[in-house]
């Protein structure tokens, strides 16, 4: 089996990192790869774990806001890579796309380097985020077009 990768124990939640991991998780492998191609090739990395497919049990809440319950599982692929320089990147992404998980882990490692972060955010993360936001906005506009005003027939005497 796989060794447990080096753990940055006690890592505090980093909103910026959470955001790029979320954007990468929602993107597909081809879109991430296409963005990466526009950059100078990243330094070599080695896989510390995976990519490997597994399951995450998705939970809901009783009544939507009460105690948790187990709704059902979903497939998830995880990957951990290490750059030659030393940074370790992680990815947990829905589905079974090994290439996507590895690309996301690689980017997570690269983005932790302050020297590269700005360029990567501007050329990879922000364009992906913008495409996702545009798709979400289009769905919201489609939903808005189905807004219905029900009229009640009231007879007044």
């Amino acid at each position: 089996m796989h060794d447990t990768p080096p753990s940055p124990a006690g890592t505090a939640a980093d909103p910026q990192r959470q955001r790029w991991m979320a954007v990468l998780a929602r993107a597909d492998a081809a879109a991430i790869a296409a963005r990466l191609e526009t950059l100078t090739p990243p330094p070599p990395h080695r896989r510390l774990r995976g990519p490997e497919a597994g399951l995450v049990m998705v939970r809901g809440r009783l009544g939507g806001d009460g105690a948790p319950f187990n709704l059902g599982e979903m497939t998830v692929t995880r990957c951990t890579v290490q750059l030659e320089g030393g940074a370790v990147g992680h990815a947990y992404v829905a589905g079974r796309d090994a290439r996507k998980a590895e690309l996301a882990a690689l980017l997570d490692a690269l983005l932790q380097d302050p020297a590269r972060r700005e360029v990567l955010l501007a050329t990879v993360i922000e364009p992906l985020a913008a495409a996702q936001a545009a798709a979400a906005a289009r769905e919201a506009r489609r939903a808005a077009a189905t807004r219905v005003e029900f009229l009640t027939m009231v007879t007044t005497r």
Partner: protein
């Protein structure tokens, strides 16, 4: 008793080869691609993911193809596949209040904050066969779009009632919920376990039970407080990171059934909730689940348990179609030894009865 048998390998392999040919159908007709099933038979995919209790649209599409469209067989295939994968952990509970809504309707309020959004629904269609779909044609025009206020707030209907103190609150305990995939079902089952069983239960079974509560088997007077359907983020805390990260978005359907409750010694008269939540766009399933969830709460709300839908053991032990099909369908497997003993038993009883009759004069008339 089922006794394993040997032999028949040749016949079995020939039967499976014929099944494979039948699955493919007429060779002149183009073969189905998984993407076609995933994109164009989305509600079948959703049902297989819900009853297979495993969210993966591509795997569900493969299962549907392999099962020749038999959705229970497809759910079975998905359940079998999931056992080959390691469990990384559990997600944070979904926050359905933050769902990106496609659809949101309430039968209890005409005007409500956020409005009524019909979304992509069969409701209000005329249920006339559309023969224009019989021949391939140009794709339909893009759906209409209308400007909407950014992040139009759509609070839950249950929250609106709760603000007035008229909705029984759900205790917000953060205890680890029981898991049917780890421990077998045992009754009495707490509500989290019941909801897990219902979420993966057979849509047809739950539909019939829900319907029975409306027809008088169990005292229900439900309203659809709210149905919401859309994409919701799944967050998971990887142990190596120690903070939650979003791992993707999934489509779910949620149903809040609002029911009257007359109150008890400890609780005032108020509304209570039946709750349904399913993977995908399985709205009928979410509604049926909510009806049955409420019926199963009869005991804890001090109501009389009289109807099948209120009987935990009856509902929970029979809702799982993979288990049900396993036990029903095993009857067709060889029971030769079993039946041989029954046969000998019956012949013996008959022989004894005939022998007894022969010794008794005029026993026949």
């Amino acid at each position: 008793m089922y006794v394993a048998v040997k032999g028949g390998e040749r016949a079995i392999s020939h039967a499976h080869a014929w099944l494979a040919a039948l699955r493919r159908g007429e060779a002149a007709v183009p073969e189905l691609e998984l993407a076609q099933i995933r994109e164009q038979l989305g509600l079948a995919v959703d049902r297989v993911m819900a009853e297979g209790a495993c969210h993966d649209p591509d795997l569900a599409a493969l299962a549907i193809k392999q099962a020749c469209g038999d959705l229970i067989e497809a759910a079975f295939l998905l359940r079998a596949y999931r056992t080959t994968l390691p469990r990384f952990g559990a997600s944070l509970p979904l926050d359905t209040a933050r769902m990106r809504l496609w659809r949101r309707v309430s039968a209890t309020y005409k005007d409500l904050p956020g409005g009524q959004l019909l979304g992509p629904t069969f409701d209000y269609t005329h249920r006339l066969l559309d023969f224009s779909l019989a021949a391939p044609g140009a794709p339909p025009p893009a759906p209409a779009e209308e400007a909407c206020a950014a992040a139009a707030a759509a609070p839950r209907v249950s929250d609106l009632l709760a603000d007035e103190g008229l909705m029984q609150p759900e205790p917000r305990a953060e205890s680890e919920p029981p898991d049917l995939t780890r421990q077998p079902l045992a009754c009495p089952a707490a509500r989290p376990l019941r909801l897990q069983a219902l979420a993966r239960g057979d849509e047809g079974f739950l539909l019939a039970l829900g319907y029975s509560t409306q027809r008088g088997y169990g005292n229900a007077h439900p309203f659809v407080g709210e149905i919401r359907q859309g994409a919701v983020a799944v967050e998971f805390t990887p142990p190596e990171l120690g903070f939650p990260v979003q791992i993707g978005e999934i489509t779910v359907t949620e149903c809040q059934m609002v029911n009257q409750f007359l109150g008890s010694r400890t609780e005032p008269p108020q509304f209570t909730r039946g709750y349904g939540l399913v993977f995908g766009r399985g709205e009928r399933k979410a509604m049926a689940m909510a009806l049955v969830d409420r019926a199963l709460r009869a005991g804890e709300l001090g109501e009389e348990v009289t109807a099948p839908a209120q009987d935990q053991e009856f509902v929970l032990y029979h809702a799982d179609n993979v288990e049900a099909t396993g036990f029903v369908e095993h009857l067709k497997l060889p029971h030769h030894v079993d039946f041989q003993s029954e046969l000998e038993n019956l012949r013996g009883i008959r022989a004894a009865a005939q022998a007894a009759a022969a010794t008794l004069p005029e026993a026949a008339e």
